[in-house]
Symmetry: C2
Subunit: 344 residues, 2 copies
Amino acid sequence: MPPSPDSLPDVKARKPTLRTVADATGFAVTTVSRALSDDPRIAKSTRETVAAAARKLGYVPDRAARRLRTGRTQVLTVLLNAEHEFLGFTAELLNGLSDALRGTGYSVTIVADRIGEDRMEVVDTILRNRLADALFFTRTEAFDPRVRLLMETGFPFVSHGRTEFTTPHPWVDFDNTAFARAAVERLIARGRTRLSLILPEDRFTFTQHLRYGFVSACREAGIAHEIEPRVTLDSPAAEIAEAVRRRRRSADPPDGYVCVGEVAALSTLSALADTGGRPGVDADLVAKRASPIFDMIRPRIDTVFEDIRATGSTMAELALRRLDGEDPAALTRLFSPSCDWQQG
Amino acid sequence: MPPSPDSLPDVKARKPTLRTVADATGFAVTTVSRALSDDPRIAKSTRETVAAAARKLGYVPDRAARRLRTGRTQVLTVLLNAEHEFLGFTAELLNGLSDALRGTGYSVTIVADRIGEDRMEVVDTILRNRLADALFFTRTEAFDPRVRLLMETGFPFVSHGRTEFTTPHPWVDFDNTAFARAAVERLIARGRTRLSLILPEDRFTFTQHLRYGFVSACREAGIAHEIEPRVTLDSPAAEIAEAVRRRRRSADPPDGYVCVGEVAALSTLSALADTGGRPGVDADLVAKRASPIFDMIRPRIDTVFEDIRATGSTMAELALRRLDGEDPAALTRLFSPSCDWQQG
DNA sequence: GGGTCTGATTAAAACGTTACAACACCCCCG
DNA sequence: CGGGGGTGTTGTAACGTTTTAATCAGACCC
């Protein structure tokens, strides 16, 4: 039977509270509370009785009440970038996070992290108003002001990407130096002699890692290389394509491209096509990917996989351990690239 | 000065509460509470004094306390699909939602909605434990059990996609019938004579809309058409590609493909390439897209844009109006396709 | 001068939980 | 027999709101 259109949720059977369980078992509310949190001060037998009754009654603690009392929110918040170098980044990261958090009682909230605006403001409100127990964010900077503030206030967080602060903090990262080196080696192995790279903005830590891997691998091999000066990884796809086209039409164009992400790779491929270049013939690409999209691109190109879903799960796991009081210095995880070279 | 590694957040200056504002203004807590909610029972002058003091002190109401007292959570929850036909679906939708919700005091939480498992269970826990004030979800079915349950209990929600229930409810949808018709017309205009379509699973409402638009447009034009029987839109990309390849190698293969999403379109393109077909020459595609990815695919193909970010904002807006008590029957919005045909 | 009415404010209770301090009770020791 | 130390349990008070019912000062009326 459909409800009247504007009715609010019914208050069917009243939700069971500690009180309900206490009345059912004959113990006091305090005892029930302690029993359910497995407090050793409560007799083993009592704990079992209470647990059984709670299960039978379908008791589940009220988040608001607990939060009001303890100050802990049971909420973990992700600062969400509008754009990313990977197409499915957000979906993968969030799925990874919620996989790892399922059944823990923590919930994930998202808050938009517009790059144009002050990145600190949103962190600030979360801290001031105690809106979460921990924070996750990506695109970490070498001396990220968010990290600085969070460390100063002792607020738990896990960053995607390292920093250069001396105080340790939890992070999860991908070995972008290893990726860049592997990409360079692969392109050299395919006979390429002039390599090109489009970097993210300088302030991000992973920019430095990428640059180091790319430049040092090229130098060691004594091979010509260049970093595209006109655009960054976050430039609009059309601008990236335009920059690559321009360079293709000038003297000594590159014949090997290291692409840090799907958007850059597709833009480069389109620029190649627009200037009459054939991938695999006139130039080669190695792209970092996070989705299966390159399985569908012809001709197939060499890729290196960054597992964003695993990144998400790991970030969640580290956050939980941080909230459990573990030493932050131990809560780090570096993912290695897994290469996927095409034959021939 | 860095804190000891395992310290929890400092309790610096205590957060201002109603009490703080009351003491500062000389009014009682109740008065302050009422004044801040602009209760007409409070004198205008008092309201102004209190508002000024609250602003100066940086008072912001405690979510947990308010939630405990009122039962309203100030939380809107999105049921998140792991996969989607669009690459950037999740990111776009969430950004749209949080755009529209910024400054409203509502926060967005996400919860994974694994297709393999019981879709109802997660809704059930949200209802039972009052974990949110409203729900958003996608991939709506014709007689979606979630919609049924939510309508029965009067719980606010906005679905992405319509249903066939007679009781009205808030929804946002894309006109997939119009999309399919437009795609068919476009392919016919390019001289194609045998059209093919890959549909989502039957249970989704939009499957019926797509089928109707496709079939009726083809019939009206008296043109040969088929619906790929072996795979659905949600089949793994590799299977979709394999199905298209198989069909390409059999008798009378299609020369026009209507692709309901980026994954299907790229899979079809790859299958075309693998079987020696050239898009634009041996066959044409019209793809529904939500990201700029097709700007980078060569040769360029015809696309129809579904604005997922606007979908997200609209869903949020409708939810707020629903929570405001507006008539659900009025809270619907159908987005029209915007076609983007290539020249020639 | 007593009664009713209106407008503005307030005290007290409640939401469901956890922390603190206290309380019984029993056993054992001097 | 008085006291010390467990062990297990409990009443009370808070956390910061909103709601219900009450209070209070005037004003107005007869």
